[in-house]
């Protein structure tokens, strides 16, 4: 087991079932995602079946099971954004990228996440990509955005 993980475990010395979610949360914060190996390690530490842990972790939207892509797209699903139409935007993203929230595409280029209100409701609907806001979105703009990212990647690749 990675030594960093041991450090996290030390914060949960009681090894109880109740520790599961906070423990997973902490790992996700530190490592960015829950790898299979880490889940297995947590299972051994808390004495809970990995199948149980995987079941619990997949129940929540905020856990990821692989590293995020180079472009990590967080779609706001707060009330204002929802009303303004982020559902269709999410649908479009899912269709174009062929991934669901929580997943990363095969190339490791894009990953998707659904988040609750980012706190910029006046600019709804919006998504956050690598900590930059893209506001007043519509389907047209989303398509352009993705095309722009892809082009940029292509260029870096070729040069």
């Amino acid at each position: 087991m990675k030594p960093e993980l041991d450090g996290i475990f030390q914060k949960f010395p009681n090894r109880q079932r109740e520790d599961l979610i906070p423990l997973l949360q902490q790992i996700q914060d530190d490592f960015g995602y829950l790898s299979n190996q880490i889940i297995t390690g947590v299972g051994e530490y808390l004495g809970i079946s990995v199948n149980k842990i995987y079941g619990v972790a997949t129940f929540y939207d905020n856990f990821r099971f692989g590293p995020v892509g180079r472009y990590h797209i967080r779609v706001c699903h707060g009330t204002a954004c929802h009303v303004a139409g982020t559902s269709t935007i999410l649908q479009e993203l899912e269709k174009q990228l062929r991934i669901k929230p929580g997943e990363t595409d095969k190339e490791g280029l894009f990953s998707l996440e659904v988040v609750s209100c980012i706190g910029a409701c006046g600019l709804a609907p919006l998504v956050e990509i690598n900590e930059e806001y893209f506001t007043h979105l519509n389907l047209e703009k989303i398509k352009d955005l993705l095309a722009g990212f892809r082009e940029k990647e292509q260029d870096t690749y070729e040069s």
Binding site: N36, T40, G43, S49, Y54, G55
Partner: protein
């Protein structure tokens, strides 16, 4: 205390503290259920058991609601019926609808519900479950597309079997039953007990079928196809077909299989006798040499796999004997092949068992010799019926045909292995005889329970006293053994462990039914049949003793070790 409640304008008497569902059922009111399981805590997940209670705004789920004084209940009001029908229609919204090609056609709770609710067309169209069927296991096949998320398998696997190989993954309309990381059952901690198959209402869980392999071997015309039937299989057949236990059931199955092209059909009871003799000799040896105690039976593959995965520290306690199935497989590919001048590679051996775990057992690498496995195919009782049906065979109309030599006879011990507690008794008897100059006079095996309600008994032989115990269902077995080992109990010498609740009578390869009486009934049949067994005890089986003599060996000896002994090892799995 009992009191009365009103149901559909009738007064019925109910017990305080029971659920409304149990009261309704006992009084003959039919209420459908899907997620409900006897002896499990209710989950209220499927809502099919909904009824209307006067004064309550919403329908209530009767399976999780206790009876209350002055209750007025309607089980079939228009509102209830409409709600139930909608629920079933929703369940069907993403179903593959391939009933015609489905193994559970005619024995499917979803099909029954649709029929009962008079569902005539598809009302809702849901997204189909995108998970592929999982063929990865040696024993258990999963088709997530047919899953109705009732959670019965999940609860069985966790609460009764203590394995938790499967669980709910994700939530809302993405919810599925699966193992961690969406990996196949083969890398999960599944111990192949098949109990999940027994509780699944649909065909989402099935056997990994061996019928095709068997058929191919028969069709090849080049293979010597040898079947062997376990005693408990015979009991199930008797029960299912309604044949009297006095009849020669194995003989009837023999007659049936011969019509399908079997070359020989043997009695697995023969190898049961050997297994009992081996385990009692090993037990005697462990006691004499102060080896690990208590000795744990090892004939149940699910139990063995559980120890290998979850309790490797208990491996020294497991009796290193092969199970009856593997003893028979070995004998067929060695001794028998030699005698009959057959090339072992041309022999195809088929076990017929009440168990799906036996499929896994047959595939264990230590069960092969020079690349040839002892047992080539394992048919569960369910598969046996399916197989026979394709030949249009009606078991009831067949006259019995004596099972083939040289493995035709067995003692009462063989039948005893069909239910929990029986094997402990058979081993106790052999041990008693060993310590009583070969005589069984004065042997008494009375069932008693210790303080914790666990079944234990003591037998006396001369000055010695031996303790025997038996337990079934992995959760029960695991907690019992932990206790024994923790308490350092030296008075228990042998523990019979069966992975399935009730032993093979409740095995994961038995016919699927929601009737909880079936396993008990099969046990009773085994007990009746053992009265007509060829011999009273395993040691009296002459042909078995001849085999030992041929090798100049006694039970437990190294000389017959290559036939009768094996080893177990720690197994790394996702757990």
């Amino acid at each position: 205390m009992d009191f009365k409640i009103e149901v559909n304008n009738n007064l019925i008497s109910v017990h305080e503290g029971e659920t409304l569902l149990s009261a309704l059922w006992r009084n003959g009111f039919k209420v459908p259920t899907l997620c409900h399981m006897n002896h499990f805590s209710p989950t209220g997940a499927c809502r099919l058991c909904a009824v209307e209670v006067e004064g309550k705004r919403d329908l209530i789920t009767s399976c999780s609601y206790p009876v209350e004084k002055n209750m007025k209940v309607k089980t079939n009001s228009p509102r209830v019926i409409k709600a139930r029908k909608a629920l079933v229609e929703l369940l069907l919204s993403n179903h593959p609808d391939d009933c015609l090609y489905c193994q559970r056609n005619g024995n499917c709770e979803l099909q029954w519900l649709a029929e009962e609710m008079n569902v005539k067309e598809r009302k809702f169209f849901g997204e189909k479950n995108p998970d592929y069927p999982d063929h990865s296991s040696t024993s258990v096949f999963r088709d997530p597309g047919k899953c109705v998320l009732c959670s019965r398998c999940v609860r069985m696997c966790e609460e009764v079997q203590k394995v938790t190989a499967i669980d709910f993954i994700s939530r809302a309309n993405q919810t599925k039953v699966n193992s961690a990381f969406h990996k196949g059952l083969n890398v999960s901690s599944c111990i192949n007990c098949g109990q999940c198959i027994m509780v699944c209402p649909t065909a989402a869980l099935l056997d990994i079928s061996h019928i095709e392999k068997v058929q191919a071997a028969l069709d090849s015309g080049k293979k010597e196809v040898l079947f062997f039937i376990s005693p408990s299989t015979a009991a199930s057949v008797a029960e299912q077909v309604g044949i009297k236990s006095q009849q020669d059931i194995a003989g009837i199955i023999n007659a049936a299989l011969k019509k399908c092209g079997a070359d020989k059909v043997f009695n697995l009871g023969f190898a049961c006798d050997i297994n009992v003799l081996e385990e009692s000799a090993i037990l005697n040896d462990h006691m004499a040499k102060n080896l690990a105690m208590p000795l744990l039976s090892s004939c149940c593959p699910a139990w063995v796999q559980y120890v290998e995965e979850f309790r490797p520290e208990w491996l020294p306690f497991l009796a290193p004997s092969k199970s009856p199935q593997q003893i028979m497989g070995t004998l067929l590919k060695t001794h028998y092949s030699e005698k009959q001048k057959l090339n072992p590679a041309g022999v195809f051996s088929v076990a017929v068992m009440p168990c799906v775990g036996k499929k896994f057992e047959a595939s264990r690498e230590e069960m092969t010799r020079q690349g040839i496995s002892g047992v080539d195919a394992v048919l569960t009782v369910r598969e046996l019926f399916r197989f026979l049906r394709t030949f249009g065979i009606d078991l009831k109309s067949l006259a019995p045909l004596q099972v083939d030599e040289p493995f035709e006879k067995a003692s009462a011990a063989a039948w005893k292995m069909g239910y929990s507690g029986g094997k402990a008794e058979a081993v106790a008897l052999e041990l008693y005889k060993m310590n009583n100059k070969g005589s069984q006079d004065g042997f008494k095996f009375s069932v008693s329970k210790n303080l914790a309600g666990k079944k234990e008994t003591k037998i006396k032989s001369g000055k010695q006293q031996f303790g025997f115990a038996w337990t079934s269902g992995i959760e029960e077995a695991d907690s019992y053994l932990q206790q024994i080992i923790e308490d350092n109990r030296t008075d228990i010498h042998y523990v019979e462990v069966m992975g399935c609740p009730g032993g093979c009578a409740g095995g994961g390869g038995q016919p699927i039914s929601r009737n909880p009486e079936k396993p008990k009934n099969r046990k009773r049949l085994c007990q009746e049949m053992e009265k007509n067994a060829h011999f009273l005890s395993a040691g009296e089986n002459l042909a078995v003793m001849d085999l030992y003599m041929g090798k100049d060996a006694a039970p437990g000896s190294e000389k017959t070790g290559e036939w009768y002994h094996t080893h177990f090892r720690k197994r790394e799995v996702l757990k």
